[in-house]
């Protein structure tokens, strides 16, 4: 079943089109990475999905219109909008009390379990916690919600690499299962490559690339071409070419692995490489 169905979503800020006809379908049980340069429309797209901003076009999330039914939708959707949104005055215990009070799907014991693994004290106020601890706290809260869709907007922004690694480990091991769906945006493409099941690139308010990771891995190959084979390799119409240490690295779509091996060393491209290739053919955002 489709968790998110978007058709022609548009959203303008003044004369700027933040979203310029976004079509997006996300199925249950997927972990989708929404990746794009600054100002591409990532956060606006997430805000529309979460009912935080009005939009034009058709959008249903878990069968509901997020703009008109935000409160009901939030029983089944959890999100972390940004690391800094937990109110700074609140105590950890008050946060747990409040979530337990207003959220029918919040499991306090589960949240306590996550917190027990951290150094966060119950009587501490959010303003007294370090940036990493605030993220851990917020993550403990959202992971204790039995949500069908979890939306994470730059969840690891400003955290050191140790926290970022733990964050995604916890997400995969303690939270994710086939009945849940996760939508995540991040700048750190390489970091989430192994976590994702699907990837979507957004640029200038449009979806410019969407694929499952399986498809991505079987369709795209990178070949490090020796100079004398460059002409032959270019005949395969690579979607991107870059130079590194005097060698040409070509990103090729849908080519035969054997054929490529004759031209040079074949390797798996990273999402970051494909991202750069797609963005360069699209042109950078204004």
């Amino acid at each position: 079943m489709a968790v998110i169905e978007a058709r022609g979503i548009r959203k303008a800020f003044g004369t700027t089109m933040a979203l310029d006809g976004v079509d997006l379908g996300v199925e249950e049980g997927r972990i989708v990475g929404l990746i794009g340069p600054n100002g591409a429309g990532k956060t606006t797209a997430l805000n529309a999905i979460l009912g935080l901003t009005p939009y034009q076009g058709q959008l249903t999330v878990l069968g509901r219109d997020p703009w008109t039914a935000r409160a009901q939708l939030m029983r089944d959707v959890a999100y972390i909008a940004d690391v800094a949104v937990l109110p700074r005055w609140i105590r950890v215990s008050q946060l747990l009390d409040y979530a337990g009070g207003v959220h029918p799907r919040f499991d306090r014991d589960k949240a306590e379990g996550f917190l027990a693994r951290t150094a966060i004290k119950h009587n501490a106020r959010v303003r007294e916690l370090s940036k990493g601890m605030v993220t851990q706290l917020h993550l403990a809260l959202v992971m204790a919600v039995d949500a069908r869709l979890l939306v994470l907007d730059e969840p690891t922004l400003g955290l050191d690499i140790l926290y970022r690694k733990r964050f995604y480990d916890a997400l995969l091991n303690d939270y994710f299962d086939q009945s849940r769906t996760i939508l995540v945006t991040t700048h750190q493409v390489e970091e989430i490559q192994d976590v994702l099941t699907d990837v979507v690139f957004i640029n200038r308010g449009r979806i410019v690339f969407a694929s499952s990771m399986e498809q991505f891995e079987s369709r795209y190959l990178e070949v490090v071409v020796r100079p004398d084979r460059l002409a032959a390799a270019r005949a395969l119409r690579p979607i991107h070419e870059r130079q590194m240490l005097g060698k040409s690295i070509l990103l090729v779509e849908g080519a035969d692995r054997e054929q490529l091996a004759a031209l040079g060393e074949v390797r798996k491209p990273s999402l970051a490489d494909l991202f750069v290739a797609v963005m360069e053919t699209q042109g950078a955002p204004p």
């Binding site: 935080l52 009005p54 409160a71 939030m74 959890a78 940004d82 800094a84 949104v85 409040y98 207003v102």
Partner: protein, 271 residues
């Protein structure tokens, strides 16, 4: 409407804004101490009664000030610190959120004022009685003051004026709080002053200023049953105020303001 979510939302307002109970508590403590100091010199029942009226008046004034500042920050502060994004991630509707904030000046603060006034008056009475007894004098005259009338009069004034009659004021402040990108205090009061000034210059009348003054004074000026001085009395016709058009016009204005505030909370982005 989900009443559990509403109650938790009110509770969270008290967690965030401790001045809701701390400010009146401090004022009550100061007046009680001052009163006890004064009582030692000249202890007449009339003195005691005037001190009681001072307690009631000061606490009402304090909680009105708290209410004004609370309302101005209620929907502004959460956008400024972006915590509104967290509150909106909970299954709590914008109606519930705004109504819980409206409930603080209309219900929570009057209840706190009422309970704290009675408790303070009782403490003052007990302390004065203990002082008199310790000095071998009778405190009986103090206990014969018209306590019931004073308390019921205060309750009447709290419910009719501080809750019901001020509703449009609180609604307006919440609306500005939901709308302003900066300086909600100025946006709340300058337009009102501007309307008064423009009316005076253009039409040479003062209807708006008079209306505003009547609203803030509780619209009770025409009530002959109102006690003199600071004494608030239970009126001879307690439900007469329900027949005043001003009350219902105020409710309508309050409802419009709240509805707009709810809509603004949905549309407005964090600052």
């Amino acid at each position: 409407m989900n009443y559990g979510a509403l109650l938790w939302s009110v509770r969270r307002e008290l967690w965030e804004n401790r001045s809701i109970y701390l400010a009146p508590l401090i004022v009550a403590a100061v007046i009680a101490l001052a009163s006890f100091g004064a009582v030692r010199h000249n202890l007449q029942p009339a003195t005691m009664a005037s001190h009681d009226a001072i307690v009631a008046g000061a606490l009402m004034g304090t909680t009105l000030l708290v209410a004004i500042f609370y309302c101005l920050d209620a929907l502004y502060g959460e956008r400024r610190d972006r915590s509104v994004l967290f509150w909106k991630s909970m299954p709590v509707s914008d109606w519930t959120a705004v109504l819980s904030k409206m409930a603080v000046p209309m219900i929570v603060l009057p209840v706190i004022t009422f309970v704290l006034t009675i408790v303070t008056q009782l403490i003052m009475l007990l302390a004065a009685s203990a002082y008199l007894s310790a000095h071998g004098r009778s405190a009986a005259a103090l206990w014969q003051l018209p306590w019931l009338q004073m308390t019921s009069g205060m309750l009447y004034h709290l419910v009719t004026v501080h809750s019901l009659y001020y509703a449009p004021l609180f609604g307006w402040l919440l609306l500005v709080s939901a709308w302003a990108k900066r300086q909600p205090f100025l946006w709340a009061f300058l337009p009102l002053a501007a309307i008064g000034v423009i009316e005076k210059i253009v039409f040479n009348t003062t209807h708006f200023a008079v209306m505003l003054g009547s609203r803030l004074s509780g619209g009770m000026d025409a009530d002959p049953a109102k006690g003199s001085g600071m004494m608030m009395l239970w009126p001879s016709h307690p439900f007469e105020f329900l027949t005043r058009p001003g009350l219902w016009i105020g409710f309508a204005l309050a409802a419009i303001c709240v509805a707009i505030a709810v809509r603004l909370r949905r549309y407005r982005d964090p600052i």
